[in-house]
Symmetry: C2
Subunit: 144 residues, 2 copies
Amino acid sequence: MKAPAELTELFRSQGLKITPQRVAIFEALHGNDAHPTADSVYDTVAADMPSISLRTVYQTLNDLTSMGELHQLQFGVGSARFDPNTTAHHHAVCERCGQVRDLAVDFDGVDMPRARSGHLQGFRVTATEVVFRGLCQACQTDSG
Amino acid sequence: MKAPAELTELFRSQGLKITPQRVAIFEALHGNDAHPTADSVYDTVAADMPSISLRTVYQTLNDLTSMGELHQLQFGVGSARFDPNTTAHHHAVCERCGQVRDLAVDFDGVDMPRARSGHLQGFRVTATEVVFRGLCQACQTDSG
DNA sequence: TTCCTGTCTAACAACAATTGCAAATTGGGC
DNA sequence: GCCCAATTTGCAATTGTTGTTAGACAGGAA
């Protein structure tokens, strides 16, 4: 995701308005690697701007997603998570606490999307997602 | 997933009852590689047993899932999908029509879960899922 | 600065997927 | 066939998200 100032520019260049709500959301996301849900973004922003509505947060997150500035992730449990890191990487999801950790994308030099492309039989791949499920270190010792 | 007869045995051995509803659901799933949703399983079963409730379908799908006979998949759009194929494989999801195709799991001999395990820093991986997103052959020609 | 217009926000209703609950029903050991 | 715990049903509740709309506001023009 671009920095708040650049996003401001981007929005303006598309004829969209710069509102305090949007700026607050840009700032809450910038450099955030916690893979927040819409609700936790709302909590963060609402701390300083209690009048903001969850609806506005969803709206802006969706706008950013369709501009490609944000990736929406869905790990099958709970709500959608948003990831400002749009570079290629994958995720490790803790089944116990729900924490999501970023992982480097390099699997010993194997280019995932193209690997065994023969098996994709005519399917045109535009994105590849890898999710590792298991237990984070804290939860291993916790539950052991 | 085991065959209906074996599932009957399995359920019975766990003190669970064999009801016509359950048997019908076993049969609807057996050999089904369409990755059906709860609702489409319901439709299938309800064709022959109109009195069955969607609630019962959910219940049984969840039971089968917690016995490990079924895998629940969530591709981030629409409802959960259920997969009676519990052997290692991954999925190609068409972004346009929603169709899900099974893919062989072998990526040129790379053992995904262990690859670059150094990057998983203490995270204990129990399952690895790979999702390829894109367009199936039909949708490529359709939209072109 | 002020006005104007189209966009945005907030509040609330609607919605889809799934689960909780309680009452009625039923499988299967006796 | 009886009985009881397990199951099914129907419906309400819940969760996460989106639709709607009236009023508020950003930002260009005068």
